[in-house]
Amino acid sequence: MKENLFRIQVLRVVATAVVLFLVYSLFHVQVVEGERWSSMAESNRFRRFTQVAPRGSIYSADGVTLATNIKTYDVAMSYEHDRQLREQAITTLCSLLNLDTDEVTQLLRTHQRKFEPVVVASGVSFEKVAMLEEHRYLIPGLVIQVNPRRHFPQPYLFSQPLGRVSAREYTGISGLERQWNDYLQGQSGSYIIQVNANHVPIGEPVYDREAVPGHDLQLTLDAELQQVAQDSLRRVLEKLRENETAENAWAGAVVVIDPNTGRILAMVSEPTFDINNPNSFVQGGIIYPEEVPSWARTHGLDRTVNYRKPIGSTMKMLTGMAALETGNVSSSETIRCTGRTEISNQPTQCYARTAHGNVDMIRALEVSCNIYFGNLGHRMGRDVFYQYLEIFGMGWEHRNAGFTDIPFGEQRDALDYRLRDTWFGGHNVQIAYGQLNEFTPMQVANYVAMIANGGTHYKPYLVETITDYTGEVVEHFQPTIIKSHDFDPAHLETIRQGMLAAARGGHMRGVAQPTAGKTGTAEDRSPPGNAHAWWVGYGPYDEPEIVVVVFLERGGLGLRAAEVGRDIFDFWYEHRQDND
């Protein structure tokens, strides 16, 4: 016990000794050498800056630059500790740049990391920067940063799929820019600069960490095809409005995919916005003609993947396949069309109440006979039909399966109509010719591609290759098969012939090569009440290279949408086919 107490005393002496050692060390640093360290603190005018990494560029499949960086001048202030100098700096700066003094003061005061400069004005012109440089001696803490800014050479053509980039953080906030941000962003760097007593940088910056530029994306999108699709869509919409055949035709979408891989070759959504102008995305920032109704002022919306509407008669190939595969009808069986009848108490009529007479599958597709397909719907019933919707990738599964490589908005269950408790027999008839259920143009494109390619469900994708800034390929994406379904080839052939007949007899007459197609006119009673025009097609018939889906919201007859399809196929057969 005695020993214990002695040893505690020893420890106490040791503890005291080491504290005295600290006292001695502190005395040496603070009092003996204090003067020297103090003058170092005075001249300690190192500043640390963040260097924003250049974002990776985005290129189209045909080598057109879709997104790149341009230089902008940002004016920043680093925190000057001396209040008088600081206030003088803020006043001078604000008068030169016409900024609000209180706002800038507040910005500087609330900035947590005083060591780094705060950007007070971005995108400043070179003339203003030169003027600031002349007055630098009055503005201690002034920092001119040269930062990259996102620039899209085609401001209206790819707005929705590319998405926007926030100016401040320089990160993607929608579309591909968001989905692939980790690749595009690169790594920001930082460097240290010493400034003299007048806050003028002296010497070369010393790099803490060099910025690493982001990776480049090469897309599957074909810029020229996209332009053709957008021009055609705009022209047709305008014509429809002017001729007052469809005064509400303000919006629409076009999707072109490769049925053999899932590559998305074009995706156009109207209306669109100037992606280089951050204000244009905000409602009111874009100038709509006065007559544009409010529901159509949705320029930020990507109607190809985030917007669903009933698809009308373009559903009929699916209904036909379902009935053939489940033995509810044979290719040769005929059903009598009187132009107008009741099926399961559901009044059903064909366009213009035309009586088609005895029609088989091919003829029914050719003339788009509602009574024929209504009967198939009645025979199959709801559950068989929904089973085939899912086989064709038209179901809820896409919500989580990453249907494309751009982010979705919030999606309702595509099949939620089934969940309604007011289901009655007539609904079996209506769903068969494309009413009640709603789908996105991209879903429709995928379903038509499955008919064209024999039943393979490819994941539609936009990014082909990723390369780093040295040009080395980081990733090269291969087509992804989500699933395959074994259809009877004879059944597929029947449906394809029906599409060929429909196109040849009407809207695709005279096209350079055999092309399959189908129109759709989807009724929609919700205001403003006009029908939606749809057209789907693929070609060439024997060796399909592209699938085209055209959607004219409130565009009226499907035949109108076919005009856009025709333009796209004419372009493809003339300019693209031989290149392959």
Binding site: E3, N4, L5, R7, I8, Q9, V10, L11, R12, A15, T16, V18, V19, F21, L22, V23, S25, L26, F27, V29, Q30, V31, E33, G34, E35, R36, W37, S38, M40, A41, E42, N44, F46, Y79, H81, R83, R109, R113, K114, F115, E116, I192, V206, Y207, D208
Partner: protein, 373 residues
Amino acid sequence: MGREKFLRNFDWTLLATVILLGLFGLLMVAASTNTGDAELREILTSRFVFRQGVFLLIGIGAMVLLSIIDYNEWRRFIIPIYIFTLFVLLLVMFRGQSGILGAQRWIQIGFFSFQPSEFAKITIILTMAVVLSREDFSIDSWYNLALAIGPAVPPMILIFMQPDLGTSLVFIAITIGALFVAGIRWIHLGILSLSGLIGSVLAYLFVFKDYQQQRLAIFLDPWQDLQGMGWQIIQSKIAVGSGQFWGRGLFQGTQSQLDFLPEKHTDFIFSVVGEELGFLGAMALLAVYLFMVWKVFQVALEAKDLFGRLICIGVSSMLIFQLVVNVGMTISVMPVTGLPLPLISYGGSSLLATCIGMGLVLSVAAHRDTSLF
């Protein structure tokens, strides 16, 4: 024991000293996270000050509560406490969150992330005290010595692997302090120290991660690495030195205010003390600190049993080691190891663990046998 006796034995001075240091810490956290022109209301409601204040209140509560409970009660729970500590340290390893330099030190519980290694120090203080104070146990042989050191080794290795070199060194300080007072033979102590020296050289060569080696190399010559760790060391020394005798005044230090100092509210808080309060302020802080440690030693001397003594020795070893390493690192007389300054640095876990330790010491003081004196 009667209430009257408890109140008479209670060490009010020690309690007041701890609270005083805690409040001083709060002030320094405010000074290192706010600039001179911030308003008082802003400072009080700023995230760092508010959180530290809440933890200080909780800490004081825990300290008072622990001082009331007889410290001998904890003997019965030592095995569950020890196992639980190991479990949580393992959890950090597999589920923890990375902090500075990718070290996994934190665990998220509700809104708070806490640092189990801080609490593990208290567990080891208690465990060593329980083992070494057993009637039938004496560390006169190598075998018994190994038995006594044994429990401290697993948590130490886990913390070293986080990696947190500083905190695992605190464990060594606690262990040495406890063994020394429990009566380790001088020859054993000598051999242990020598092998420890050789062991640390080997550890430096073969076990230390690159950055840990670098830290030590940079400690010897900070100017070789102006952009990285050397920057921090030099900036800290400039800060402390430029405080000179009187200091630059509270909230007035250019080094601290301009953010030349990384981690200035946590590990490098003493740089802010040195810069803004000068040699005078630093001396005042060291004096109060030394006074507190002396009081803990006094409680150890007056404790009624060896268990109580060893608790006090563990706590004082921890405090003095962290004080010297932390303050020393701000003026480059010690390498940077990432240890907080107990009661002063920002950080709820460290503050709470220190208060728990002081609560145990206060309990030893309050339950001492006064008939001896």
